[in-house]
Structure formats: structure tokens, C-alpha cells
Point group: C2
Chain length 373, copies 2
């Protein structure tokens, strides 16, 4: 029996049995960690990625090296898989349209369509009455100048599409920076956001099942450097009430998107005279770097939660067994592996990437400690 | 630079770098979990197994399906690997002899030779002054009758080679059972052991590095049914002093064998008027079912400890983050996966085996709880 969801994706209602094949688009570290989690549950993985040196290939039963618009390869991939998912949100629409009629593709088209476009994200949030930074749609240099004047003070110009790790963004202090910023994003369709004087960045990593069951890991506090996540920490510096609001925001977004699988919602925490306030910064319809600490600190990690959800299993408990700090190993920092391997209690993860490049996420290390220690 | 150890194995002294290839002989669940642990450290795995449906193949970068005495396949395997290890102790001598000149094979020949033969094990223990059940070497039915009379009371006849999970064993109450027992083991060279009135079965899972560094996980209490491990529990019901003795026994054995990697020592705990006493039951020169709980309850599992050790890395911390119970899923019990998946806090592992058979280990579930809870 299959159930057709509102977004047109064919969601098989039955839970996949152990031994089923999970197809994953994208062969980076997220795909690799998804494959490792799937293996723990007795699932078989098939990784699809254009890059023949994809780290995820090394831990999968089957591999397809092909472009994301290769209909023939996609069709063969779908035929080998019981469900298909992805490790990144910028999956081309053509890819999803090719796969969807052949195999359940989860989370499905709507979460992708919304999360691929910052304008759609903003509209979704507005529709749900969920706060985010004040913004303007930008389609021209004149519009940008007007927008900066309108929002006032420092702003961030962000391309609507294909931004990640701080790419496709430009900061502006005033209208005088408009030319430079417009050039920096090559005049792509964009949104302009007012700079928000946040006190912390936090995220909610949550999972939603086929049946609509929902669970969120504890709110994580994130520290970025040069637009790249550097450290995630749990518990976050947020009140209990604030954390409940954050989780509720994530739940409402996941439900509005009909999301199936893991999703991350990055938020700004403002803490001023009027108390705590949360503004959504960005959605990621997938497992997320700020949830890596769940591998050691929870019985079922975000990767396992995603595999369970897309397989039609109930989402797992997201309870923690302790406090945790996750630190990314970026570029050359991965060369410290010997010192990290020698540190008692440090859980070292290296992604098997063939070359170190500046800014490239090469691994991470998680340190778990007793609650409150 | 390489260092030649006393056992003649060529132990490269330098630590392998992330990205190195680990060769694993054997493609069952232990090989699979070793491969998953290696992947976490950025290592690539090559699995060698005669069975084309080996569960470990699904999580490895390279696979060889060939017999263990296929010299050509072994030579090609060695050429692809930076170090070779195994998931089972009954690796034929020919296999090790073919691989050893070509690639470091760890732990190496001596741990295998001793652990493949219960007589050698007994002699090793005697030489170290480590207690085990009273025993006799048995080569004939007459010798068996004499042995039973000599040891008195209930005994266990065990083939010297190729026994596991209670296979190759026969129990005797008296000399009257000798014919049946001798037939049950098909007259294979054997040892006869007096039955030991133990109060508990415990094991020490430990790791020894290339440099001789050593670490043991906390003593585990094991419960068997029909010769198969059913439940492992930590902490074990043993005094602190008893646990220290158990770990010391494991350390002395590992050192005597020049072992590199993870090793398990199964022991009987006798607790009578004269206090606690430990007798070694069996050695396993590899990762062990009674150490599966370390996946969730320690920053580095027994599988990671083994990979680190054979890669020439220091052995990791073996500290626990809580108490744990591991329950094997044997045969049909794996069909309970839906209930287990729905149990909060239960970490479910399924091995991806293609067919359920009675007595076959299909998966396991680990429950971690706070210390003393």
C-alpha cells in the first residue's frame, strides 16, 4: 500500500525492512555518516555522486558515479533503491523529478524547493508567523540601494540560491557598499537582510517520521568563524522556555513542509531588555553539522534518526546521555589527528577526504562529559 | 623504518595515516563493525571473505571473494592493504604465512597459533602461572576414560581446534558418557576439562598497541544460553580487587603473546568460602561479542581500539560513560526489530545478514544508563 502525499511524492506507508537499500544523493561526509548509520540498522546503501573520489563511496554497498542530470543513471539508481534521500539541499529539480515517480524520495520536493530559495524560506516563515531578520527581495542594484536605505544600518546580501558556509553572501555597512556587494554576488537574485544584534546562534536538529511523529534533539549553540561552523555545544545558553519555543518553531516548520527525515533550523537568539527572542536564520532539510554531537551523546544519532524516518520507522528518542562539545577540523587542523587520537575521551572523526583544502571540513571531534560537568 | 618482533612478524613502527587501507579477513558482523569503526577514523577497508554474501562487504571500499588458501588472491589483497587483520581466530596458517611477508599482519602468528589450539592455550596459562580449570590432554577413547576418572565428577570434552559458540564440545557426568562424548567430537584431538562450579562468567576485553601500551575495558559479566552469549553486562558482579586481578591476567597474556590489537579473555569467577578466584576459560585474539557494549558506552569502542592498535596508533581510553547491558538477537529474535526500534534509549544493531538461521547472531541491542541506575 502506498500513500500519495500532498506534495505529490509517493510515500510508501510500510516501514522498510532491514536489508532494504537506501539511496543517497551526494557522497560527502554527511552521506558517509548517513551510510554508517544505515549500516548499523542492517540497511544497504547506494551512493550517487558525480565525484569519483567521494568519501561516502568507501562505506557503501553500491556506487554510481554520474552527473545529477543523467536520467539513465538516475533511473538505474532508482531501480536499485527502496527509498532515496540526499545529503545536500541543492539537488536539481530535474533530479528529483526523475526519481520521484520511480522511488519514494524523502523528504520530497517541497522541503527542497523551499530550502533552495531564501525567498521561499522567508515567505514560509512569514506565513507561519515565525520571526526572522527584516528583509527585502533584491533583483537589481537600484533595489539593493533602496533596500539598504530602507532597512538601515548594517545588512547582509544573500543570493537566493546555492549559498552555504558563508558563500554567496556580502556584508554592507551602508548604501556606499552596494556596488561592491552587488558585484560580489554577481548580480544574482538575492535577499537583503538587516543585521540582527544576536547574542548567540543556536540550532534545532529534529526528525519527523512518515506518520508525522516528531522529536527534536536538545537545542545546540553554534559558533562560526569566517562563515564556517567551528564549534557546537549542548546545552546551549538558552532558557528552558526559550528552548521550548525553539523546538516549537522547528516542529511547525517541519509540519508545514510535510518534511520526512531530519531537518535543522538555525536561529539567532536575541537577549535584550525585552527578554529572549528567536529569529530563524536558515533551514537545512537534511542532517546538519550542528548535530554531529548526537553520534556520541545520544542512543540514536541524527544520522540514524534520518535513516529511520525515511525508512518509515518511528523517529527515535533524542534524549542525551551527557553534555557535549563538537569541534570541526577544518583544512590543516586535520593534521592534528595524532594529538586528538591521544586525547582520552575525545571521539575523533575523519572523513576520508583525499585532499586537504583551506576551509574544507576534514573531520570533527566530539567530547562528551557528564551533565553539568 | 620497520621493527621485527620476536614472533617474526614485520611490524611497521610508524603509525598509519588516515586514508590507509585496513585489510580484514572475514566478512561477518565483527568484520562489519571493524570496518564501520575504521571508516570513522578516515580509514579505507578491504574485506576478504569466501562468502559472496558477507555482511561486511556492504560497508567496505574493496572486496575480495576468494578462499583463504587462494595464494593469488591473498597476494593481490596484501598489495592493496597497509595492514591486515582478521575477525576470527581460525585463520589457516597458510593464509598468515602467505600474507605475513607482504604486509604487516596483526596481531600476528603467535596469538593465532596459541588461540587456535586449546592445548597451547592451557600450556601458555600454566607457563604464566594463571589458573584455569583442571585439564587433561585427550587423544583416544581410553585416554578420555582415564581422564574422566582422574579429574572426577562432571567434565567437558573440547576439541583442541575449531570450537566456537559451544560447538566441538561434549559434557560428561562420568566415565559412562565417554563413548558418546568421544563420538560427539568425532575422535578429534581434544582436552578434557573438569567442570568448574563458577558463580559467574566474566570477560576482559583489552587492547595492546604496537608500542606495548595497554588498556582494558571494564570487566564484563556474561550470560550464555546453549553455549551462545545471550547478555553482557557492565559493571560485572565482581569486587574491585577481583576486577584488577582479571585485568592483570589479561595484560600478562597479551604481553606473553606479543599481541597487537584487541583481545578478549573469558574467565570463570568462583566465589566460595575462600573468596573470589578467577580461572581463565578461553582466549579470543580479536574483538569479541562481550565487548559490543563499548560502541555506545565508551568514546572509542573495542572496534576502534583494534583499528587504532593495528594501525600503530596508541590504544584509546577505555573509560565508560555509564552502565550498559548488551543483548544478542539470535535467530528469530531479530524479527523483533520494530519493537526494539521503538524502545527509547535502546541502541539497535542489525548485521545485514541475508538469512535468519536458528542460533545465528543477527544483531544486538545495547542499553546504556547512568552509573548505578
Amino acid at each position: 500500500m502506498t500513500v500519495t502525499a500532498q506534495d505529490g511524492t509517493d510515500h510508501g506507508a510500510a516501514a522498510l525492512e532491514p536489508g532494504a537499500t537506501i539511496g543517497i544523493l551526494g557522497g560527502g561526509q554527511l552521506g558517509r555518516m548517513l551510510a554508517l548509520a544505515a549500516a548499523r540498522l542492517g540497511m544497504r546503501c547506494h551512493i550517487y555522486c558525480p565525484d569519483p573520489q567521494s568519501p561516502a563511496f568507501d562505506v557503501a554497498a553500491a556506487r554510481t558515479v554520474a552527473a545529477y542530470d543523467d536520467r539513465e543513471a538516475l533511473t538505474a539508481f532508482a531501480a536499485d533503491c527502496d527509498v532515496v534521500t540526499y545529503e545536500f539541499e541543492n539537488v536539481p529539480a530535474l533530479t528529483v523529478d526523475t526519481l520521484s515517480p520511480l522511488v519514494p524520495a524523502r523528504p520530497g520536493r517541497r522541503p527542497l524547493a523551499v530550502c533552495q530559495d531564501r525567498l521561499e524560506e522567508k515567505r514560509l516563515l512569514e506565513g507561519l508567523g515565525i520571526g526572522s531578520a527584516p528583509w527585502r527581495k533584491i533583483d537589481s542594484l537600484d533595489g539593493l540601494r533602496a533596500g539598504v536605505a530602507d532597512l538601515g544600518g548594517p545588512c547582509v546580501l544573500k543570493t537566493r540560491r546555492l549559498g552555504y558556509d558563508g558563500k554567496g553572501q556580502a556584508r554592507l555597512k551602508s548604501t556606499g557598499d552596494a556596488d561592491r556587494a552587488w558585484e560580489a554576488i554577481a548580480g544574482a537574485p538575492a535577499i537583503l537582510e538587516a543585521f540582527v544584534p544576536f547574542s548567540r546562534e543556536v540550532s534545532v536538529v529534529c526528525a519527523r517520521g512518515v506518520a508525522g511523529d516528531f522529536a527534536a534533539y536538545d537545542v545546540t549553540e553554534n559558533h562560526h568563524e569566517a562563515g564556517i561552523l567551528r564549534v557546537s555545544r549542548v546545552p546551549a545558553g538558552i532558557s528552558e522556555a526559550g528552548a521550548a519555543v525553539a523546538v516549537d518553531i522547528a516542529r511547525r516548520i517541519a509540519e508545514a513542509l510535510g518534511h520526512v527525515g531530519v531537518m535543522a533550523v538555525e536561529m539567532f537568539l536575541l537577549d535584550d531588555d525585552s527578554g529572549e527572542r528567536l529569529l530563524v536564520n536558515e533551514l537545512a532539510p537534511r542532517v546538519h553539522n550542528s548535530g554531529h554531537w548526537t553520534i556520541e551523546a545520544c542512543p540514536a544519532s541524527q544520522f540514524e534518526a534520518h535513516i529511520r524516518a525515511i525508512a518509515g520507522w518511528p523517529v527515535p528518542s533524542t534524549a542525551r546521555i551527557g553534555d557535549a562539545t563538537m569541534t570541526n577540523l577544518i583544512g590543516d587542523e586535520a593534521l592534528d589527528w595524532q594529538a586528538l587520537a591521544a586525547e582520552p575521551g575525545a571521539a575523533l572523526h575523519l572523513y576520508g577526504k583525499h585532499a586537504i583544502r583551506p576551509g574544507r571540513k576534514m573531520g570533527h571531534v566530539t567530547r562528551v562529559r557528564p551533565f553539568g560537568a
